[in-house]
């Protein structure tokens, strides 16, 4: 009897641990840690702005496989945590802000705001390794990019 009682208690304890672990993991999964980068793409070798830093080789190679520009420079980088069912804003320049809202499931809503005016909205599943890129033309055959990626380890 003492043996069965022992195992019964063990089983209950393990069941409780399992439920708590799944609840903790489930609760943590809904919070997102995202990074947004404002990048300038050009065929020039250097940026006219000193504060622009060339992107790392891996990022440049990945961008070159999709876009036509040779060189890419980081203008701004912001990292934010998006709370569950909440929003957070990434102010990348004086006029450009990206607002991201965590939705049900692994989906997020990304909203581009220019000079305070919403310009575009996307709803997409975003996982680690995925890049969501907003881009547009800029002066002198250059382009701007906003790269949003998930930093959470899932």
């Amino acid at each position: 009897m003492s043996g069965s009682l022992f195992y019964s208690r063990s089983f209950r304890a393990l069941l409780l641990v399992a439920l708590l672990a799944s609840a903790a993991i489930g609760a943590g999964a809904s919070e997102l840690k995202l990074e947004a980068k404002l990048i300038w793409g050009t065929n020039d070798e250097k940026s006219p702005r000193k504060e622009h830093v060339p992107v790392d080789d891996a990022t440049a190679a990945r961008l070159r496989k999709v876009f036509k520009w040779k060189n890419y420079f980081i203008c701004n980088t912001k990292t934010r945590v998006i709370p569950s069912r909440g929003s957070n804003q990434f102010k990348l320049s004086d006029d450009c802000t990206v607002e991201i809202t965590e939705l049900e499931g692994p989906r997020v809503e990304l909203k581009v705001i220019g000079k305070g005016v919403p310009v575009h909205k996307s709803i997409k599943e975003l996982r680690k390794g995925d890049w969501f890129v907003y881009c547009g033309d800029d002066k002198n055959e250059s382009a701007w990019f906003v790269i949003i990626k998930d930093l959470d380890e899932k």
Partner: protein
């Protein structure tokens, strides 16, 4: 003749009866033949025991005798008790409950960290896009090889063919890089 009276008789035979009760008990015995018979029987039994009870004499001292017993008890306690062998199916059954619990923990953990996630699931590629400004158009495409979803924003052409401008005069698609 009740039990209390019998016990008094036995106490009298053993010499343990208080003196003040002896005379009264003797009077009662004289009047009661059963009591006389019991008294005779008790005296006879006491005589047998006193004369024939064997007296065991220890061959060694009392302390040494009991120390031997204590040492033997301690020796037996130190001897490992052989546990009866358990059949294999009972041994497996004993592990079943904890293993089931561990399996449940592993299953829930796997479920929670999305190990069932299928990278090629077509439903996860669905994207909803919406232009919120009438002056800005968008084209979206996905690079499967680079795992990249791109939304290209551009200023819609005005009727004159020029790019739309914001009230401050800058082209709409130049708003994002300052």
């Amino acid at each position: 003749m009740n039990q209390e009276f019998e016990l008094k008789l036995q106490a009298w035979v053993d010499g343990e009866l208080p003196k003040r009760e002896v005379s009264r008990l003797a009077t009662e015995i004289e009047r009661n033949p059963d009591a006389q018979a019991l008294l005779a029987e008790l005296k006879m039994t006491r005589g047998f025991l006193a004369g024939n009870e064997p007296e065991v004499v220890l061959p060694e001292s009392r302390e040494f005798y009991w120390s031997k017993i204590q040492r033997e008890i301690e020796r037996l306690e130190r001897t490992p008790v052989e546990e009866p062998s358990i059949p294999w199916y009972l041994a497996v059954r004993r592990l079943l409950a904890p293993l089931s619990g561990l399996a449940l923990v592993a299953f829930l953990s796997v479920l929670s960290i999305n190990l069932f996630y299928q990278p090629d699931d077509p439903t996860r590629q669905l994207v909803e896009t919406e232009n919120l400004s009438e002056h800005v158009g968008s084209i979206s495409y996905r690079s499967q090889s680079e795992n990249m979803f791109v939304v290209y924003l551009y200023a819609k052409e005005s009727e004159s063919g020029d790019a739309e401008v914001d009230p401050e005069g800058a082209p709409v698609n130049d708003l994002f890089l300052q």
